[in-house]
Every structure is written in structure tokens, then in C-alpha cells.
């Protein structure tokens, strides 16, 4: 089946994309349509579609004379009721295309709008924005295809982005981030003292937040082929060190900070794959980081509860829990080092 598409692709492929582009800006009271098109073929098409004789004059003038026809072929609806569009300016833009503006009043209680063009026959991008919000949604439409319902009012974008990326950050730790889970457990297993755990987790969090931010701004960059084995090595290290050390030293804190920087670069790799939304990078980055912290807190909460439960049955937790678990973490870390190299 995969091959079939290749057979078909050559002789029955989609057409190339059109040279049309449409931008739709929606505010509380109005909708503005900006249509970009190549002048010459647009004039040919408008002349063909018009019942009147071919127009004369320069390109802009000829298109302006057909503005009513363009308006009648442009359909914007608010909650299924047609919006009356009024032709605005026609001018030549910096790309040499003509830019045709249409505006219409939106009812104040409109919930959704839809767009349809009966002027464009090919595939074209429709960019939709709300007011001065720089975020744009892009729809790829074919000919007279109608868009799905578009919210007439800008969603609380920042909050939605923050929440969405926070969820992504959380699931990147719980349940998907087994390597990060083991690292955090490695920190947890060093010593039962709460102050030591807090010191390590704080240092780790600060460090990975810094490197995540730097990486997302493009100030630091390391390929995944280096970062991923080093993260595995950090896991092996904390596991092994737990076997021979029971107190928090300043050396351990420095190492945890260094490892935190590495883990931050790992998180950045995930975020790069998803890509941050244009104009919303700050809530997205912040949300992702908060999600990661919540994921870590979740791991520590579960670990504390489990350890507390076990202490009721196991007298020597150091011998039967802390050391074997640390050894297992170390072994897993070594295994990952090998497989990621």
C-alpha cells in the first residue's frame, strides 16, 4: 500500500498550489478580509465570470471595477448568517500582487464564523487572527471548501497555551520520562533527610530551567546524540554514588547542577520537536517547565509514600530498599548509556 501511492503520485498527483493567499482578521465587531492574488490571471478570471464587457485601465483599476463580483464570490458567515462585506482598498503590495480588502460588521453575539471563496479554484492558505493577537491559525483550503467553525472571539490564548504545555511537560515526566523519573529517584534515595532532598531538587530544577530557556532561545545547542547518553550517565552516576555515600556533599550538589543543565537540554529537544507557538513562546515555555516540576513532585510524592509504607514492614530500609534500588537505577543508567551511544 505504501508503494501504491508512489505509483499514483506521478500521473495522478495533486495540482501545484495556487498563488492566492487570504488573511482574515476578526475583532469583536468586525471582520476584515485581505485577499492577495496575481493581477493578470485574476483579471482574466473576473472577465470570464462577469456578464459585463471586459474592463479597461490599469490592473488595479480593472480589479477595483470588479470589486462587487469579488465580494459576491466571498462568503463570510457568522453563526450561519451571511456577513455583508464591503469592498475596501485595492492596491499593489510589495510582492507585486494585488491586495484586495473587504470588511464586514460582526454581530456582537456571534460565536463562530466560517469562510468560503468561490473565486479561488486551487489550494490556498487562509490565515486567521483575532484583533491584535499575533497568533495566527492557518487553514489549507481547496477551492470552494468551507472552513470549520472558527471562534469569533480570541480564546484566552495565553492561559490555554500555558495549560496545554504544562500538560505536555507533566506527561514528559509522568509517565513517559522513565530516565528523568529514575534520576529524581536517585536524588531521593541518597538520604532520608528532607533538607538534603530539597537542596538537590532545587538545584536540579534551577539548572534545568536555565538550560531549557537558553536552548529554546538558541543560545545553547547540543545534539541529542550527545545529550541523551550524558543524561543516562548522570542517572548511572547518582545510582552508584548512592551506594557509597549517605550524606549530601557540596560536590554532589555541583554535580546535580551540572546534570540539571543536561536534563534541561533534553527537555529542550522535546520542545523543539513540538515547536513553540509563534507569539506564545513565553507561556508555552513557562507552562512546560511548570509541568516538568509538577511531574517531579509527583514522582517524589509517590516515592515518599512508598518508602513510608515500606518502613512499616522493613526495618533496615538502607539494606533492603535504598541500596538495591540505587543499584538498579545505576544499572539502568549504564544500560541506557550503551544503547544511546
Amino acid at each position: 500500500m505504501a508503494l501504491l501511492i508512489l505509483a499514483c503520485a506521478t500521473r495522478l498527483s495533486a495540482h501545484p498550489m495556487s498563488t492566492f493567499g487570504v488573511r482574515l482578521n476578526v475583532t469583536a465587531s468586525a471582520v476584515t478580509v485581505i485577499l492577495n492574488a496575481d493581477a493578470a490571471p485574476l483579471i482574466v478570471k473576473l472577465d470570464a465570470l462577469s456578464a459585463t464587457r471586459p474592463s479597461s485601465g490599469d490592473d488595479v483599476e480593472r480589479i477595483r471595477l470588479r470589486a462587487d463580483l469579488i465580494r459576491s464570490l466571498t462568503i463570510v458567515k457568522a453563526d450561519d448568517a451571511a456577513v455583508a462585506l464591503i469592498p475596501g482598498t485595492v492596491r499593489t503590495n510589495a510582492d507585486g500582487q494585488v491586495e484586495i480588502t473587504l470588511t464586514g460588521a460582526l454581530p456582537s453575539n456571534a460565536h463562530t464564523i466560517t469562510w468560503q471563496s468561490r473565486l479561488i479554484y486551487g489550494a490556498y492558505p487562509l490565515s486567521v487572527s483575532h484583533g491584535s493577537d499575533p497568533v495566527e491559525s492557518v487553514f489549507w483550503l481547496q477551492g470552494a471548501e468551507v472552513t470549520p467553525a472558527i471562534p469569533a472571539h480570541a480564546p484566552t490564548q495565553s492561559v490555554a497555551t500555558f495549560a496545554g504545555y504544562m500538560g505536555l511537560g507533566f506527561v514528559h515526566i509522568l509517565p513517559r520520562g522513565l530516565d528523568h523519573i529514575l534520576f529524581v529517584l536517585g536524588l531521593f534515595l541518597l538520604t532520608p533527610r528532607l533538607r538534603s532532598l530539597l537542596a538537590q531538587v532545587t538545584v536540579f530544577t534551577l539548572a534545568h530551567s536555565v538550560s531549557l530557556g537558553l536552548a529554546m532561545f538558541g543560545l545553547v545547542s547540543l545534539p541529542a546524540s550527545i545529550v541523551e547518553p550524558l543524561i543516562a550517565l548522570s542517572i548511572a552516576y547518582v545510582g552508584i554514588e548512592n551506594l557509597f555515600q549517605r550524606t549530601l556533599s557540596s560536590r554532589r550538589l555541583w554535580l546535580v547542577a551540572a546534570f540539571g543543565l543536561l536534563h534541561g537540554l533534553g527537555f529542550a529537544g522535546v520542545l523543539s520537536a513540538i515547536s513553540l507557538p509563534r507569539g506564545q513562546w513565553l507561556p508555552a515555555l513557562f507552562g512546560f517547565n511548570v509541568g516538568v516540576e509538577l511531574g517531579q513532585l509527583g514522582v517524589l510524592t509517590l516515592a515518599t509514600a512508598t518508602m513510608f509504607a515500606w518502613t512499616r514492614w522493613v526495618a533496615d530500609t538502607d539494606r533492603w530498599i535504598r541500596r538495591p534500588a540505587s543499584a538498579a537505577i545505576a544499572l539502568m543508567g549504564v544500560f541506557w548509556v550503551i544503547t544511546r551511544l
Binding site: M1, A7, A48
Partner: protein
């Protein structure tokens, strides 16, 4: 009793070493097993069903998977496959752009993902970016030299660029390694290009027989191809039968609709062709269909309607679905804007030297009265031995004009 620290340290070191050896062995074994998996054993995209609803379901399901895991390669490849199929069914050129974006996201996370790269080459073909497709397919070859799909991709791109010997060699390699429906379809096209229409029909029939019954879109495509071949061979009754079968297999299949209109025209039934085209142009306009409708109106003596359809064809080939070579052929054939026809054909021929672009160039020169240039371009157009009726009629006209020069305008 607590073990001594010294003994514990030794045990840990031993355990670590043991694990390193075991892991390395496991990894090597896994790599071997991956190497021996043939390309086709990878989960086939679009395997469930390719009906209109099936494609929509696949797009929705894979989009949902990718919303949660944007770097999921298998889902991205399946989504891209479904989007490309939808783009053929709907004539929607925006869908390959979306497919490319999906694959780019996966390849950003893992640039060496083979399946995603291979699918991206297919997407480039769909976007008519033949050189990009060729480059990507050759890069894939460096990763997996024995994948016959790459031969298909390289052959397809070479064919469109006019490098027929490279294309036919690639198809020959493919048929040796993997004789299946996709390979047969390509070989059939190679026969058609070389003028062996009977052979092309036989092989396309084999290709259709080898197509899964659960793949209605592919079945409709094969039936439409058979219709096209029978029409090229002059058997309009069989062509109609195949196009009707295609329409029946996949209701509303664009190729079937325009194919039937061509059969109507070939059977001198322009009014039927117009009735059929009016419906399809209303829902899914295409430049070729507008041009055909123009011809039908012209045959009926309706000059205004013909001119209107020709103008819409011209506008569409210029801006809605820009295809300079097609536009040049259209302008030259209908005697419109001949200077532009020559310019467009020359520009297109500089990019791709396939026989149809050569024919467009030749006919544009001919219409301008440049018989020597027309003859040179026609030699290239005839180089594969194609029996394409339009191409042959152009060749005959040029030959006649050269032996008995007349004013051609």
C-alpha cells in the same frame, strides 16, 4: 550482616561490566534483526481502507496520535500517506503541504528516520518538486540501498524530468526485486511512453489484479488508467466501460469524471461532455476540464461560452494550479497568446525535458512559424516512441509544414 564496602564495590563493578556486555550483545542482535527487515515489512500506511470515509478516519486518528506525540514517526508516515491520497481524491494541493509539515516535524526530532524521509520524497513528487524528490530518494538510498520503493521514486522523478533511461532502468530494477501492483503500474506507463499501448494495457490489468480489494481508491485509479489507455488506443467503448467502473468503485473519483467527458468528446457527443463537466466544474474545477469544456462549446458553435471556459482554464493554469508547461501547450494548441506560449514552454523546458513539455515547446514554435526550432523540439518529444494522439498529430503537422511550407498562424 552488612557486606563490607570493599566487597560491595567489587560486586557493583562486576554487575556493571556484565550489564555492559549483555547490553552490547543485545543491541548488536537488535541492529542485525532491523537490518534484515525488508522495507515492505514495515507497517503499511493506509492499510485499513482507502474509501473516502476510511481516509478521513485515518487522518483523524493519526492527527490525534500526533497531537499527543508529535515525533511519532509511524503515525506521521500514515498521516502523510492518507493526506496524499485525499489530495488525489479531492484535487487538494494543500494537503501535501500539510503532509510535508508533519514529516518535517518528525525529521526535526530524528533526521535519520528512514520511513519519514522516504515518505517526504513521495510528498515532494506530489508537489511536483521532482528534483527535491530525486535528491531525497538518493539520500534514502545511502541509508538502505536495497529498498525497491526507492527505485520507484527515483524512476518517477527521473521520468518527470525527462531522464527516461534513468527512469526505465530504475523500474527494471524494481520489477526484478518486487513485482507487485505498484511496479506493474510503472512498467505499464513505461510501455505507454514507448508506444506499446497493448502491452501497457496488459500490464495495467495485471497491476489492477494485484491490488487489494480493500483499497477502493487504488482500484478506481487503476480502472481510470485503463480507461485512459483504451482511449489512447482509440477504443472508446472499452474506455467508457473502464471509466464507469472507476466511478463505481469510488463514487465521484475526479479522474473517472473527466475521463468520461473525454470519451464523450471522442465519440462526438460534446453536449454530453458539457453536461458532465458542468457538474464537476461546479464542485471541483480543474483547468484541464475547463479547456475540455471550451473545446466542447467550440464544437457546438457556442463561441462565447467556449471563450469563457478557455479564459478560466488559462487563469487556473496561471494562478490557481500553476502549471507553465500545461499552460504553454494549451495556449499553443488553441492559438492564444503565442509569444507567452513560447516563453512559458521555454522556461518549463529549461526545468524539465519530458516529452510532453518538449511537445508544448515544439507546438508553440510551430504556431509562431519557427519550423526548424519546432522540428528540433519535436525530435525530443518523439524520442521515447510515444503514440500519444495529440503529440502525433503535432508531429505530423510539423512534418507536413516542413515539406510544404505554409503560413501556420
Amino acid at each position: 550482616m552488612r557486606p563490607k564496602p570493599q566487597a560491595l564495590r567489587k560486586s557493583v563493578v562486576a554487575a556493571v561490566l556484565l550489564l555492559i556486555v549483555a547490553s552490547a550483545a543485545w543491541r548488536a542482535a537488535r541492529a542485525d534483526s532491523l537490518r534484515t527487515v525488508p522495507a515492505a515489512a514495515v507497517t503499511p500506511p493506509g492499510a485499513s481502507t482507502t474509501s473516502r470515509e476510511g481516509l478521513s478516519d485515518t487522518v483523524a486518528a493519526m492527527s490525534a496520535v500526533l497531537a499527543k506525540a508529535p515525533a511519532n514517526s509511524a503515525a506521521a508516515v500514515r498521516l502523510a500517506d492518507a493526506l496524499l491520497r485525499q489530495s488525489r481524491v479531492l484535487n487538494h494541493a494543500g494537503l501535501p503541504v500539510m503532509a510535508e509539515a508533519v514529516l518535517n516535524r518528525v525529521l526535526h526530532a530524528n533526521p535519520s528516520d528512514y520511513m519519514a524521509r522516504r515518505m517526504r520524497a513521495t510528498v515532494y513528487l506530489s508537489q511536483h518538486r521532482f528534483r527535491d524528490a530525486l535528491t531525497e530518494a538518493k539520500r534514502c538510498r545511502a541509508l538502505r540501498a536495497d529498498d525497491p520503493v526507492l527505485d520507484g521514486l527515483i524512476g518517477d522523478a527521473s521520468l518527470e524530468l525527462g531522464d527516461y533511461s534513468a527512469a526505465f532502468s530504475a523500474f527494471d530494477r524494481m520489477v526484478l526485486i518486487r513485482p507487485d501492483a505498484t511496479t506493474y503500474a510503472r512498467v505499464s506507463y513505461a510501455h505507454e511512453l514507448q508506444g506499446d499501448l497493448a502491452g501497457a494495457i496488459d500490464i495495467m490489468t495485471m497491476a489492477e489484479s494485484a491490488t487489494s480489494a480493500h483499497d477502493p481508491e487504488a482500484q478506481a485509479w487503476h480502472a481510470a488508467q485503463l480507461g485512459h489507455l483504451h482511449l489512447a488506443a482509440g477504443d472508446t467503448a472499452l474506455a467508457r466501460r473502464e471509466y464507469l467502473r472507476s466511478e463505481n468503485l469510488f463514487p465521484g473519483y475526479p479522474l473517472a469524471g473527466s475521463g468520461l467527458a473525454r470519451v464523450d468528446m471522442a465519440q462526438a457527443r460534446p453536449a454530453d461532455a458539457i453536461a458532465r463537466l458542468t457538474k464537476s466544474l461546479e464542485t471541483a474545477p480543474s483547468a484541464a476540464d475547463f479547456a475540455l469544456a471550451g473545446d466542447a462549446y467550440a464544437q457546438l458553435g457556442q463561441a462565447d461560452s467556449a471563450e469563457r471556459s478557455y479564459k478560466l482554464a488559462e487563469a487556473m493554469w496561471t494562478s490557481d494550479t500553476p502549471e507553465p508547461a500545461q499552460l504553454a501547450r494549451f495556449l499553443a494548441t488553441r492559438g492564444r497568446r503565442l509569444d507567452d506560449a513560447v516563453r512559458l514552454a521555454e522556461e518549463a523546458f529549461a526545468v524539465r525535458q519530458d516529452i510532453f513539455t518538449a511537445d508544448a515547446l515544439s507546438w508553440a514554435y510551430f504556431k509562431q512559424g519557427r519550423l526548424d526550432d519546432a522540428s528540433v523540439a519535436m525530435t525530443k518529444a518523439l524520442s521515447t516512441g510515444s503514440r500519444d494522439p495529440e503529440l502525433l498529430s503535432h508531429a505530423a503537422a510539423i512534418k507536413a509544414a516542413r515539406t510544404r511550407p505554409v503560413k501556420v498562424r
